[in-house]
Symmetry: C2
């Protein structure tokens, strides 16, 4: 399948094309980067909902029940599960995913895991590309689930319009939340497993913490209690998401986000050129000559400029 | 102090200039990057010894006693303690350092801590710059100490010629060592606190692990038992370092390392240009126009190329 066929297939919502395209993007190579870049202009229609929280709070179950409810409301749902932790935990998570995939299996739902390849920047870029692809493929709602709250997760959540932070009673999440700066990125807080002891305490301490957090605009993040296992509170979560989306529209925040994403595509393109300059010249005599000049005391930046200039000329002739 | 004065002061070995220069480099801003780049051609004379190992194995004490012995042999010693862990642990480590600094205080020793600024790449670059500076300032031996064995430490150890991996009995270091790939980077292994129970077991299990590691060339890493607290085994460590340095010279490895470092200066310069392109254009109309074109479906890479081209022209006129 060449890029053109793939591209057309994705825009037509063809599942095989979507799967292949996501594989390209997950690889992190040039063809995946190009594909995501070319699809970008066709994205921007979906609601992108981030779902994050510590392991064990029930994020997968919540995503599962949310998806079922969203389907009942007539939405098409793309799900992206991003796991930036070590490859060793990948197995268990994949197992969960497969079970979940079965439970929501229909043609209007697409689910995919992105695993860490040991490179935080690469994972974040793959996540952005995958969201772009699912959006361009016509899924009207995209759920992006990340585990924990490290640097990679916070970065990935920046691509989401509405971020759900999921907690559960008795996991000491309040402390964890402050440490990771996760309170600042949450637009809706979900206290899951709320039939467990300590749920009200979790809600109260969360409310206390939120009152200390500087408010961003007029939106004050609601706290929703759920029992995702028993389908309790899911409608309220969807309602909270819809109110947040309305808020974003009314305050033109969706346009701002879309603009920042286009900026991100441009800065990624700057990265790509810098990397291509290195890759294209590394095996050439010119590179070796530059290194030897630097060893003999000449200014490295002059040679770096020179490589950029030569690369621009050489690739301009190709076009 | 301007860059020229600072530069001359550092090359003359002036301590105030060295201190100021290291501060510039630690800041991570343009002036520190330029300084390190300009000093590079004057470096390459020092022996750069990396010292790494888990917390609690006695690295600081070992560095301290090593320094005293090296001074007795007439060497000048620059010490760089790099701590990529969270800023919260900075206090304790700084306390240790100050005590150590007192114990070895003379004009032929210079000691500096580099703290993490939450950016792995930045820390690694600062470490490389600081090594370059101490080398250019005329210290003939540079000890670079890192804590643990994360990605940042392994990267920083690539700048060292001889890497000492320090272990201690009863810390389960053998397991930790395999996990972190630290066996592969060690040229000399030091089992410190060897008066403790289990020292021989640690040596034996280490020897077993090393026998499974593919040998790199003809060098088989020796294992040296020390009690740094009681100045036991330090001469043997220095002897092992000298034998490794001899091996490197005989196999032209020092030239290879120096070549790779010059390559690194060149790739850093490529990074700098990419970042300057973004910084210089971000507030300009051109940037906004490019972003809007990308939003309307045009190819981002064309605009990225254009920015590089414009930047090269604009800065060429400045020179």
């Amino acid at each position: 399948m060449n890029e053109r066929t793939l591209y057309d297939g994705i825009l037509a919502g063809n599942r095989r094309a979507v799967a292949r395209g996501l594989t390209w993007i997950d690889e992190g190579a040039a063809r995946g980067k190009d594909l995501a870049q070319h699809l970008f202009a066709h994205a921007g229609k979906a609601r992108v909902i981030g779902i994050t929280g510590a392991p064990g709070v029930g994020k997968s179950t919540l995503v599962n029940t949310l998806t079922i409810s969203l389907r009942r409301l007539g939405h098409t749902v793309g799900i992206l599960a991003v796991d930036p932790s070590s490859p060793f935990s990948g197995g268990a998570i994949l197992g969960d995913r497969i079970r979940m995939q079965e439970s929501v299996d229909d043609q209007k739902v697409y689910m995919r895991s992105l695993a860490s390849r040991g490179h935080v920047g690469g994972l974040s870029r793959a996540a952005f590309g995958a969201i772009t692809l699912l959006d361009a493929a016509g899924f009207d709602t995209i759920l992006v689930e990340t585990v924990g709250a490290g640097q990679a997760e916070v970065e990935i959540m920046r691509y989401a319009q509405s971020v759900l932070v999921v907690l559960a009673p008795g996991l000491g999440d309040d402390i964890q939340a402050i440490k990771a700066g996760i309170l600042e990125i949450g637009n809706v807080f979900v206290v899951n497993k709320s039939d467990r002891e300590g749920a009200d305490l979790t809600v109260r301490s969360l409310r206390g913490l939120l009152s200390l957090t500087p408010e961003s605009g007029e939106w004050s993040p609601p706290i929703v209690k759920t029992e995702a296992d028993h389908d309790v509170g899911i409608d309220q979560v969807i309602d909270a998401i819809e109110r947040h989306q309305m808020y974003l529209r009314q305050h033109h925040r969706l346009n701002d986000l879309r603009y920042r994403q286009a900026e991100h595509v441009l800065t990624q393109s700057l990265d790509d050129i810098r990397n291509e300059v290195e890759t294209d010249f590394r095996q050439q005599v010119l590179w070796k000559e530059a290194v030897e000049k630097i060893l003999s005391g000449e200014d490295a930046s002059r040679y770096a400029r020179n490589l950029f200039g030569l690369w621009l000329n050489a690739t301009a002739r190709e076009e």
